[in-house]
């Protein structure tokens, strides 16, 4: 997708692949054939630049054909460089400028709890760690804490990188757990590449009825592609043809560990 697009973000979406797989194929109560199903769970994407992984998960789930994935970022495509709700059924929000997804998710969760009184629906939001620099995030954190929005489950993609370097060099976030706890949130820390941990964390979040939950998911930027992993320089660029071939081989063979018919294709 990214190679065909010729621009876009590589590391973040790869690091979020396991979380999006868990969301779309286990956690979310959704109907891809009926995107506006009134009883659905919601997924807001706050760090819009990671949308390639969401598009991939949506195509796999059946929202649209996988052949459309290569139109990413191309003129006339529904798959805009940053997600636009009105362009593609199944998206819940429009995002790109960072820091505003949590509050939109909180607004939805507030409505479910206090106005519609629909306690069995849940609102999930995926945020980056770099975007926690934004003030709007902490306004939303205070808001969700005050109103005990227990149907709100936030994921922080704790991959430790942002454009100018590591998060702790650019603008330190730690003590991250302590920060969220002091805002009235239930905080879980997990391995963001362990599918069972991701699913367990959301089960626990749904069982807590007096606080919102934030899942600090430790991830590896560029996960699965040897030359991208841990390297902040891959935050905002796509692979070229040769790099893309190597990256897909890495992903399909688990770095050369799997050899079977079809692996490496």
């Amino acid at each position: 997708m990214l190679e065909a697009a010729g621009s876009g973000h590589s590391a973040g979406p790869l690091g979020l692949a396991d979380i999006f797989a868990a969301l779309y194929f286990d956690i979310l109560s959704i109907r891809p054939e009926e995107p506006e199903w009134p009883e659905r769970d919601l997924l807001f994407l706050s760090n819009g630049h990671c949308v390639p992984v969401q598009y991939a998960a949506m195509a796999e789930a059946g929202y649209f054909s996988k052949t459309e994935l290569t139109t990413l970022r191309k003129f006339g495509s529904r798959l805009q460089g940053h997600p636009e709700r009105e362009k593609l059924p199944g998206l819940e929000n429009t995002s790109g400028p960072l820091g505003s997804g949590l509050s939109q998710a909180a607004g939805y969760a507030y409505t479910l709890r206090y106005i519609d009184e629909a306690p069995r629906r849940f609102v999930y939001v995926v945020m980056g760690d770099g975007e926690l620099n934004e003030g709007n995030i902490w306004e939303a954190a205070m808001f969700a804490g005050k109103y005990k929005l227990s149907q709100l489950v936030a994921f922080i993609d704790r991959n430790n990188i942002q454009i100018d370097g590591t998060t702790e060099d650019v603008m330190p976030l730690e003590d991250l757990k302590g920060k969220w706890e002091s805002f009235g949130w239930h905080v879980l820390e997990i391995d963001g590449h362990n599918i069972e941990s991701i699913i367990d964390a959301t089960s626990q979040a749904r069982a807590i009825t007096n606080r919102p939950t934030v899942v600090i998911a430790h991830t590896i930027p560029g996960k699965g592609v040897d030359f991208m992993e841990y390297n902040y320089k891959w935050h905002g660029i796509p692979p070229n043809a040769e790099q893309a071939k190597e990256a897909l081989e890495d992903l399909r063979t688990l770095g050369g560990k799997i050899t079977h018919e079809g692996a490496g294709l």
Binding site: T94, S95, I115, F143
Partner: protein, 328 residues
């Protein structure tokens, strides 16, 4: 003919803050439609949202002093099928949260209503930091956004009810001070419509917000001097009522616009952009000339910046002395 308040030209004409009309309108909208919800950033009584809060406590959300959160939480509530009205001072919303409004409500096309109270220099003693003058320009350049500046409290009530039903992201501009009521309960209001309040053939005076009243006073002064000005009230700045404005401009051949905001980029600019492409003619834009406001009483400031009836009459007279009537 548009029914004007018969006491319009009396010294003791009834005055009421525009925001009071908004407060009544929002409560009425809430009674009419259960989907209407209200969000405020620690200015509930100032913006007159307390009427709604007291009537529908369950549908009122207090956000604290957090304008970025105000509109983005509202965007999320709109996704959940609600019609959110957000209120703060215009200096803060849309002053501080313009990008959030653009991305999460305008581009996202959600029917969030941004209500900016205390706009213009007539906020008075609070001074330049609280006198929002750039809001019309900032909001009208956003695709999808509707921009409304009601002329008085009666019209503000009608505009609020209309915005609750228009299904679009919208900006409602309100003022703090008591202002003269020139319309009546029977006066028409429709989003996207401009109204001829007084007919004339020498010059067109296009006003938005509370300045329409002052244009009416100016027109009366000019009438006594034998100048027949046409006064058109334009409460909806976007979309503009091109047909009504064009008819008036074609009749008079010269136009003066007035707004309590920056003269650059605002209502007058919208009129000029339109006329320049279909019927080019001289347009005098009365507004704040590329500077900030300052502390003072509302009356002092309105007079200083040339918005009083007397000052407007002088401006119009100078303008028509210099400019021929085009296309006549």
């Amino acid at each position: 003919m548009y029914p004007l308040n018969p006491l319009l030209y009396n010294k003791d004409v009834e005055k009421e803050p525009i925001r009071a009309g908004f407060g009544r309108g929002l409560k009425a909208a809430g009674e009419k439609n259960e989907a209407v919800v209200a969000l405020c950033a620690d200015l509930t009584e100032s913006t007159q949202m307390h009427l709604f809060r007291d009537a529908f406590p369950k549908r009122f959300v207090e956000l604290g002093i957090a304008e970025q959160n105000l509109v983005t939480v509202a965007s999320g509530m709109a996704r959940a099928g609600k019609i959110p009205f957000t209120s703060s001072y215009a200096a803060f919303s849309p002053g501080r949260n313009w990008e959030q409004i653009k991305t999460t409500t305008a581009l996202n096309n959600q029917p969030v209503k941004i209500v900016g109270s205390h706009a213009g220099v007539s906020v008075g003693p609070d001074g330049a930091t609280h006198q929002m003058l750039e809001d019309i320009a900032l909001m009208r350049v956003m695709p999808n956004m509707v921009v409304v500046a009601p002329g008085d409290s009666i019209e503000a009530e009608k505009a609020t009810l209309a915005l609750a039903e228009n299904g679009k992201p919208s900006y409602l501009r309100l003022a703090r001070e008591k202002s003269p009521v020139f319309s009546t309960e029977d006066s028409p209001f429709e989003l996207g419509k401009a109204y001829v309040l007084k007919e004339g053939h020498d010059v067109s005076l296009f006003g938005t917000g509370t300045l329409t009243y002052h244009l009416l006073i100016a027109a009366k002064i000019l009438e006594a001097k034998g100048i027949h000005a046409e006064v058109v009230h334009v409460p909806t700045i976007k979309p503009l009522d091109y047909a009504t404005l064009l008819t008036s401009a074609r009749k008079t051949g010269r136009v003066v616009t007035a707004e309590e905001a920056q003269a650059a980029g605002g209502f007058g600019s919208a009129v000029t952009e339109f006329l320049s492409s279909v019927l080019p003619m001289p347009v005098k834009r009365v507004g704040i000339e590329d500077r900030y406001g300052e502390s003072g009483t509302p009356e002092e400031l309105l007079d200083y910046f040339g918005f009083s009836g007397d000052k407007l009459a002088t401006t119009v007279q100078t303008f028509i002395n210099e400019m021929p009537q085009y296309h006549r």
